[in-house]
C-alpha cells in the first residue's frame, strides 16, 4: 500500500534528521582559525599563489642559452 511505504520513507527521514541533529559542533571561531592557519602555513608551498619561476616550471619549455 503506497500509504505505508510513505510512512516508512518518512520514518527514515526523521531518523536521519535525528542523527544529524545530534552531532558535535565546534565553535565557528575555532573552525575559522584553523582554516586560516592552514592557508597561512601552506601559502609558501602553494605555487599558484606564489608564482612559479620559469626555471622550475615544468610547463615552460626551456630555452637554451649559449655563448657564441
Amino acid at each position: 500500500m503506497s500509504g505505508s511505504s510513505n510512512i516508512v520513507a518518512m520514518k527514515k527521514v526523521v531518523q536521519q534528521l535525528r542523527f544529524e541533529a545530534n552531532i558535535n559542533r565546534v565553535k565557528v571561531s575555532q573552525a575559522a582559525a584553523e582554516l586560516q592557519q592552514f592557508c597561512i602555513q601552506n601559502a609558501l608551498q602553494d605555487p599558484l599563489l606564489t608564482g612559479v619561476s620559469s626555471s622550475t616550471n615544468p610547463f615552460r619549455t626551456q630555452k637554451v642559452c649559449s655563448f657564441l
Binding site: 541533529a21 571561531s29 592552514f38 602553494d46 599558484l48 599563489l49 610547463f59
Partner: protein
Amino acid sequence: MGEMEQLRKEAESLKDEITAARKAVQDLTLQDHVAGTAVVGRVQLKTRKTLRGHLSKIYAVHWGDSKLCVSASQDGKLIVWDSYTTNKVHAIPLKSSWVMTCAYAPSGNMVACGGLDNMCSIYNLKGKDGNVKVMRELAAHTGYLSCCRFLNDNEIITSSGDCTCVLWDIETGSQKTVFAGHLGDCMSLGVAPDFNTFISGACDFTAKLWDIRDGQCRQTFGGHESDINAIGFFPNGNAVITGSDDASCKLYDLRSDQELITYQDSGIMCGVTSLAPSLSGRLILAGYDDFNCNIWDSLKAERVGVLSGHDNRVSCIGVTPDGMACCTGSWDSFLKIWN
C-alpha cells in the same frame, strides 16, 4: 493526528533544532575572523600548454599525478595526456560517446568513465600486451553517471542521476554500498584526503557528507538556491566547497556544521560548472557557463583573478597534486594548462 502528520511535525522540529544548534556555535563569522587579513594580490595565470585533439565538447578532466591527466569528450574518446609535452599517451575509444565523467586511479594503473549509458567503465592502462581494454563495466545505476572517483585499484565511488551514490568492488563488479538520501540527481562527488568520507552535491540543492565504510550520511548542507554542479574538499579535509547553478560557490565547515562563506558577485549571473582549490586552499578556481574561470580568495571572498581563453563553457577544472598548475577543459574541445 495521523502517523504521517506526526512524523512531518517531528521532521520540521528536528530541522529547527539543527538550525538552532548551528546558530549556537556561531560565536564569530569567518568574515569577522579574517577582517585583519589582507586580500591576496592579483593572481595572473598564463596558459602554458593547450592540449588539442578532442573533436567535440570536453566534459571532464582528472589528474592522475602531476604530469598525466585523463579527459573525456563527447567525441567518444578518453585521452590520457602527458601535460609536460602535450603528447597523447593513450587515446581510448569508448563504446558510448555520451560520456560525462572520467577519473584516474591514484596508482596510475586505471582510468574510468561513464555517462548516459548509466555505467561506469573501468580501463586497465597497464595490460600485458600494451593495449588499453575495458576491464569491468559497473552497471546497476538507473540514471546517468555524473561523476566517479577511485579509492584504490579495487574500489570506486560513483554518483548518478538516479539520486544515489555507490561504492563498487571492481573485481566482482558488485555494489558494496548504496548511499541514498538525496532528493535530486547527484551531480558531483569528492573524496576526503583521508579516504574515510566523501561528499556529494545534487539537484536537491544540498551537499551531503557520507561515511564510506558504514554508509551513513553524517551531515547535510543547504543554502544554495539551485543545483549543485561541482563539489570539492578544502585541502585539510575539514571543509567542503560547492559550486551551483545559482552562480555562487559556498564553503561549508564540517566541524561547525555550517556555511561559512559565499563566493558571489552581482556581475556573475551564470552557473558554476566546476571548481578546484589550490594546494593551500587559499585560492578557489571555479569554471563558469560564461566561458571564464574566476579565481577567488577563499578567506576574503573576493575575486582575485580570471582565466579567460576558452571559446565556450569551461566544463571542468583540476589542480595538480603538487599544486603547480591547473587544467581547464571546455566545450570548445581544448584543455589548457595554466600557472
